[in-house]
Amino acid sequence: MANVIFKDVHKSFGSFVALEKLDLDIRDGEFVALLGPSGCGKSTTLRMLAGLDFPTSGEISIGGRVVNDLAPGKRDIAMVFQSYALYPHMTVGENIGYPLKKRGIKGAARAEAVQKAADLLQLGALLDRKPKQLSGGQQQRVALGRALVREPQVFLLDEPLSNLDAKLRSYMRAELIELHRRLGKTMVYVTHDQLEAMTMASRIAVMHGGHVQQFDTPDAIYNRPANRFVAGFIGTPPMNQVEGTVEGGDFVIAGHRVPIDRTAYSADLHDGPAVLGVRPEAISIGSGEGLPATVRLAENTGHETIVTLELPDKRRISARVEAARRLDVGQPVALRLDPAAIHLFEATENGARLNLDDTPASVIPMRST
């Protein structure tokens, strides 16, 4: 049993508030990703869980045991540091074996475990080298190896794949998923790469400005973003957000009416200003009826085309169409939005989503600045 609970955790550095009211309930054996832009407090969260930083207030527990005052070495965790933190004077083999050495595992048993971890990470030939003699990606794998050599209760991984090339990264992604499935240990995985989070995690905590914006499954994060930040952070390109007004059964953008289904939204949706959100793939480009727009850019990535469109009031949105579709720059088109795919948000800076299809678990509106 090793669930991880953050209860009302605050963390400030001097007068700077790094984390505010952090509540996370990570189940035993779960693979959770902390996802967010740089500086949002991901590493700080992980370091507090490791016992390297202390919460200003609040409670952190691992496996039902409050660990606020427990030394890092006693928490039965393994961690990959964002900075790798390899011991420069030790060889790769000694680095990977160090956690075992500190736990009294000797001789052949240790050598065997080190070899196994090294093989998994394709480091077998480098065991006698010093970290300085390795490339960045190799160093990162050594850091990963030092964490994977043991079977702790909780794995803490701080951007463990950030420095690998695309091929190695997708290989390591698969290996980590497989490892997690085999060991069934709790993993907390920090990343700013949404693809990693979406493909690996069973749940994602999207963080921003020291707050957890949404903590939910990848599916819910993508299809039911709790607020404008999550909507704008997930997806490449992210969800389009267009300010306008709700008038009866329509959403009005620059004088043009887009029909919506009023019954799909909460009672909080009143006539007046709101923000319409729509994913690029839910926009169909045609002619005749619809929201008028002009094609400004068409980027063909090979299997699809991302089209940048300009609305009559000069605002730009993006749409995703099949690669074969021919669209010329400057060409006038008419856009149709699938009413079932329209999200509406409150018209504030980080407005909450008003659709009825969910009740987001942990939505904390961003501090308005």
Binding site: L52, P72, G73, F81, P88, H89, P99, K102
Partner: protein
């Protein structure tokens, strides 16, 4: 013009080398000349006959070896004290955050700025009160007080160059704080510790003033004061013995220096580069 620059530079460098090396060479040459040749005019550059008689007399007829032992004990113990205290102090100044940390560090440096003469009398009185006057230990304490501030700053700049996450990683990997220090910090700090140790050892080995004031018993005198009082009196200076003693005094430093030179130079550059 193009040729002139390197020539001038070479002339300048070599005159510097000559200026610094000449007294040393003269010291060695003098120590090897027989008494009869010492004051000949014009002086002989290369001794006509080489003799080790002065060295033999120094070792067999004078308390030179006792002074030498005192100096070794004094410099070694001081170095151990300074390195141990300096390392712990630097660790605290770098790794722990507490109120007045910076002030404390500055205060330490401030004591270094005081001329040592100012501190001698209070130190002497303190040693008397503690019942330590005329002991080697009083000198060890005195040398520790004046070597420690600089050592602390030197070690602090080395310590700052060691990423904190290294220690954190060791802690997570199951090491205790002391274990993490031994396994991870210490090996990284070793160049800093060696340069600090060298610096302290040389300082203590060559120190004269404190030894003169704090210790006036011949039994515990170190080389600097011991040799001086033994060979230099108001009426006579035993030049050949003095030179032989000087050569033997310099020997340990030269040997240590030669072996650890690369560490030392990296130490003097430490404040600038952090990495």
């Amino acid at each position: 013009m193009k040729l002139l620059r390197p020539v001038l530079l070479n002339v300048f460098t070599w005159s510097l080398v000559f200026l610094i090396a000449f007294p040393l060479v003269w010291m060695i040459v003098t120590s090897l000349k027989p008494q009869s040749e010492l004051f000949r005019i014009p002086p002989t550059w290369i001794p006509e006959s080489v003799t080790f008689e002065h060295y033999w007399r120094l070792l067999s007829e004078t308390p030179f070896l006792r002074y030498f032992r005192n100096s070794v004990v004094l410099a070694t113990t001081t170095t151990l004290f300074v390195v141990a205290l300096g390392t712990l102090g630097a660790y605290s100044l770098v790794r722990f955050t507490y109120r007045g940390r910076e002030t404390l560090a500055l205060l330490v440096l401030f004591t270094y700025l005081l001329p040592s003469v100012v501190l001698i009398i209070p130190l002497y009185l303190m040693m008397v009160t503690l019942g330590l006057s005329n002991t080697l230990f009083s000198l060890i304490l005195a040398h520790t007080t004046f070597a420690l501030p600089y050592a602390l700053w030197l070690l602090r700049s080395f310590m700052e160059g060691i990423p904190e996450d290294l220690e954190n990683a060791a802690l997570v990997d199951g090491a205790t704080r002391i274990g993490a220090f031994r396994d991870v910090i210490f090996p990284q700090l070793l160049p800093g510790i060696i340069s600090t140790a060298l610096f302290t050892f040389i300082l203590s080995w060559n120190e004269y003033l404190y030894a003169l004031v704090l210790v006036n018993s011949d039994a515990v005198a170190p080389l600097t004061t011991g040799v001086m009082s033994m060979l230099i009196s108001a009426f006579n200076i035993e030049w050949s013995l003095l030179m032989a003693a000087s050569v033997m005094m310099s020997l340990p430093l030269i040997v240590v220096f030669a072996f650890l030179q690369s560490y030392l130079t990296s130490g003097f550059g430490a404040g600038g580069v952090k990495g």
